[in-house]
Amino acid sequence: MLNDKRYLVLEDGSVYEGYKLGADGECPGEVVFNTSMSGIQEIISDNSYTDQIITFSYPLIGSSGFNTEDSESLLPTTSGVVVREAVEHPSNFRSVENLDTYLKRHKIVGISGIDTRSITKKIRNNGVMKGQITDSSDHEETVEALKSHEFSSDQVARVSTKTPYISTGRGHRVALIDFGKKENIVRSLNQRGCDVTVLPHDSTAKTIMQMKPDGVMLSNGPGNPEDVTEAIGMLKELIGQVPIFGICLGHQLIALAGGASTYKMKFGHRGANQSVKNIALDKVEITSQNHGYAVDAESLKNTDFEMTHIAINDDTVEGIKHKSAPVFSVQYHPEAAAGPHESSYLYDQFIDLMTTKEDI
């Protein structure tokens, strides 16, 4: 009944004792928190969490289990998972396994029995920090190793598709640039009839335009947008040529290509209850979010972009559009999974844009 011990060590020296969960091993990562109460499978399998350790503030993780349909990527790249309780006996008609076996299968290290609320508060107050889940009880050594650990800047390259592939449809031809895309982006486009070609992150403007796409979609992805230099160059060429819709990292890349800047947030937005105001409609959408970087609102001032959506609680930029070209993007996830569906109108907007090729 009492499981083997395991530790979560943070770079500030704090140590949390818990129990073994998932795979064995030691993966350092950036410790972030997510406040969602559902969609655990979608979250863990979201490649935007590459090199990150997800702390779930909600305590019962995996109560509806893991199934064969809801993963957002086939190969999750999340570094680690911190939970209060890993539900041993989940229940749902589609469930095939529990959190522990899912993590083991995907070689993700986990720890349970942790006061995740206290970690959430620590991150809220001090910002995200490096951490490691470990079986070693030499915590000083772990802290030293963490302090000197540098995360690589090639996360996008690690999770993007290496070769193009097609997800067929009979409607608009969409080039989806994969920076670590969630599967539901492809599904959302397919559902609207789009013929989707998924392209590697480093595709050039030329290759993309050779496809003669009706529109280009930029996916979400991990890491610092400034590291994804090829894509920024590609976008500088592409803006104005073809309708473009960006999500999350894709949104940040559009902003950078347009001359704005991005910055790293203290602890980001990760959850399924983030309130965003659509400025034109003066209406609030509850959105699903997962980002640690944001577009600097001030930096938009001297660009061709304007803000369309704003986070009501901290006034950060949640959406922008080009003043004349058919380009728009949002920081959050209109494809949901996990999260509310009410922003899916943005996909419809993208379809309209490809249909009329006019300004939105």
Binding site: M1, S38, E88, V284, A338
Partner: protein, 1058 residues
Amino acid sequence: MPKRKDINTILVIGSGPIIIGQAAEFDYAGTQACLSLKEEGYRVILVNSNPATIMTDQEIADVVYIEPLTPDFLSRIIRKEQPDALLPTLGGQVGLNMAVELDRLGVLRENDVELLGTKLDSIKQAEDRDLFRNLMNDMGVPVPESDIINTIDEAYGFVETVGYPFIVRPAFTMGGTGGGICYNEEDLKEVVANGLKYSPVSQCLLEKSIAGFKEIEYEVMMDSNDNAIVVCNMENIDPVGIHTGDSIVVAPSQTMTDKEHQMLRDVSLSIIRKLEIEGGCNVQLALDPHSFDYYIIEVNPRVSRSSALASKATGYPIAKLAAKIAVGMTLDEMINPVTNTSFAAFEPTIDYVVSKIPRFPFDKFEKGERTLGTQMKATGEVMAIGRTYEESLLKAIRSLEYGVHHLGLPNGDDHSLEYLIHSIKAQSDERLFFIGEAIRRGVTLEEIHDWTKIDFYFLNKFKHIIDIERALKENPGSVDYLKWAKKFGFSDRVIGHRWEMSEDEVFKIRREEGIMPVYKMVDTCAAEFESNTPYFYGTYETENESLPSDKEKILVLGSGPIRIGQGIEFDYATVHAVWAIQEAGYEAIIVNNNPETVSTDFSISDKLYFEPLTHEDVMNIVHNENPKGVVVQFGGQTAINLADRLSENGVQILGTSLDDIDRAEDRKRFEALLQEIKVPQPHGKTATNEDEALANARHIGFPVLVRPSYVLGGRAMEIVYDESELKNYMRNAVKASPEHPVLIDSYLTGKEIEVDAICDGENVIIPGIMEHIERAGVHSGDSMAVYPPVNLSQDEIDMLVDYTERLAKGLNIIGIINIQFVLSKAGIFVLEVNPRSSRTVPFLSKITEVPMARLAMHAILGTNLADSGFPPGLQLEKDGYYVKAPVFSFSKLKNVDITLGPEMKSTGEVMGKDKTLNKALYKSLVASGLDVKDHGTALFTIADKDKDEAVELAKRFSQCGYRILSTSGTADALKKAGIPVVIVDKVGEGDNTLLRSIQNGNVQIVVNTMTKGKEVERDGFRIRRESVENGVPCLTSLDTARTLIEVIESMTFNMNEM
């Protein structure tokens, strides 16, 4: 959008008396709403007939009307006050029904009153089954196959196409009154007929039963700018088929993936948008456990019991914001009052698990039918918060105060496995405990699932609890296992039981090992935003967020779940005590576990601990806060019962000392006191066994009043007329022992008088004296009470005041005291003394404007009452007459005998007030739901001992124009007195039985008094139940009947010759 400036005065309708299906949650919602509207500068007019509420305090609204909630009285208020708008969505089903009626009568139009919040069409669309079904069909939202029927024949037609089983839901009723499931033709006849009777429009929805589906609820809100959010979703552990009010509920839902959650969220939001509800709305859905198929069950276009639960579960104050939305404000411009750092347009997310367990009245109604179904039966509920599911469940269980402390019954071993299985299959209210016991005996989860359709997720959690029990047993004294068990909510008591140790010994180990709970904040946002909500729950983790302040603190213990005998009155007193503590400059900390109440609104106290009211849980809080003392006087017996052990553990109990409380409750010591202060009491003795009881009763002389010591609400109290009855009582009703003796008193007939007083040890303030309508022997909670007394001489009043002062001083009362006297031929005797706040405190406070609970609390904190502004002694009599009338929920409780007696049976109360006594009585009767008619048919079935008295009453009914019906025995007596009477057949004799007359609607009032003897008793029971089931008032006390005829006489003309 800013608030509307074109309206100034808003009328708010409350929900009236507490009944099953409509409890304290509407006091919470209404209070929040009124304060919220006042905060925005509106003039608020409140109408509610229930005096025991915070919302009817003068501070809550600008004008408070304690008047009957009928279209007639509301119309008068509207015509007088000319409000600009009416907000009907905060007073439960009563509020909505009133709005519909006032519209139908044209009152709203004539007086130019706008309906706020929910449009009338939307109310109708959500409430009228046919319109609702059409709306859902239009939206493409699935609803179970169903049909609206108005006759039994139509029900047969439905069965032909859809088949059994099906559910019956009467239109426009609350808490599913009169509903049920039909499995066969027999059920059809009974349940459909019942449903048609209870529906004010004689309409029922028959619906294909989807029993076994998961029942999921969404609490949604929307503003005028189309911003819509989900505040909370909840999963009923009991699948569809058991009323959600009777279900064990967990938040957030546990067994849905995000796909199902978002699917149901989408449909819930589309419904609130379609109905254009500006405010809160509750959507109940059924989800197939094996697919994505779902159905909409029901939509409540108003705040509800579930929204109160959702507010307490998340911290998000739905009613407060719904009121602001109703006056045009939008969610994106309002600050989230919980965080104060983020906006209200936001979906709360929680980082804990919440369990709600209903509280049933079957400890009082042992013969009541305990099978749960679509008719709600619970009187109240408890909620508990934990970081594990097991913790939240076990904390909720020990909050129930059933004598259960864990997942099992204390005497679980006594039951045979067959009995356990039977009770689980029968969906009895105790099945959770039976399931625990069954798992303990090795019954497989598959079997239990087959019987109950409870999801395996929860069954596995239950099993986990049993597994921990076993591990504890195998590892006695193990600190590791102790830590483990505490994380899953095990109490020291239960751990001690497994370790064969006392609770205190376990606590000692915990203290030594530093295994103490930490307290976490409820903040709506899972710590994402900085928050300062003073709302906490305990759990076993690392970080404690509830850091004590430097201020001196007073801990107030609340009264737990609403049950018969301990209702909303105690929450009223608790809240007032908190206010007084704050006025006196202390920090007021409250501990309570009832999610319905005002006291568990975190904005009431300086700090709220949402925790079980057990010794262990309270001691843990004491250790964290180190308060100056604990107040136990206001939380009913729940709080009083904790006092002894708290005190033993060095906690200072404030107010009347424990020793003096004991002197009031210990029979022998109380007798000694009465002798010393020369206050007489009926002759009485205690007995610890049957022989002693018989000897004592013979000595005192029959009839005697018997009851166990230390009880609330007259539980197990009976009037016993002879030795065989006494034997029966001693064998079956009580477990007498030297620690728990039985009290045997001479039963004196006479007027019952009730007095509440406040004392600081020297000065005694008596706000007023109340006279009961029903003679002594009817529980004071079930009696009508009149202020001021109308049949007392000045000498008698002087003597009552004198006795009250002697008792208060003699018992060294610091705080409040409640005394019941009987005024018999032999003089005034004291029947009972309660050294604590009583049921009548809010009633009397409202009449006399003496803030009793507040004054008492100030006295407890050391204020000299001489400085209170109120003179000592009996206060000057107020003008007018004030009547408290009890309200019962018998129609919702099958097989419960409604005869009034020493055991309390009412669930709530109303107040009627006016310049004359008869008008006040009339209002109280009407407010209690009795339709006072000036003519009709009255059925008299009277016990021999009461015949003389009844004849006189029957005569008066007859003279007012009532037709009198009776069976042969009573008819003889009536005929002799010259009263025209129609004879009907007795139960089981002939075709024209009195039961048939009641069923046919040919009787408007039944007067029935109890006859002893097996067969007659059973017949009487059937008459009384038949009345209840047919909605015919049944009076079992001739005193009540006399009052009614006096009222009728005063409102009609007498046809006597002059």
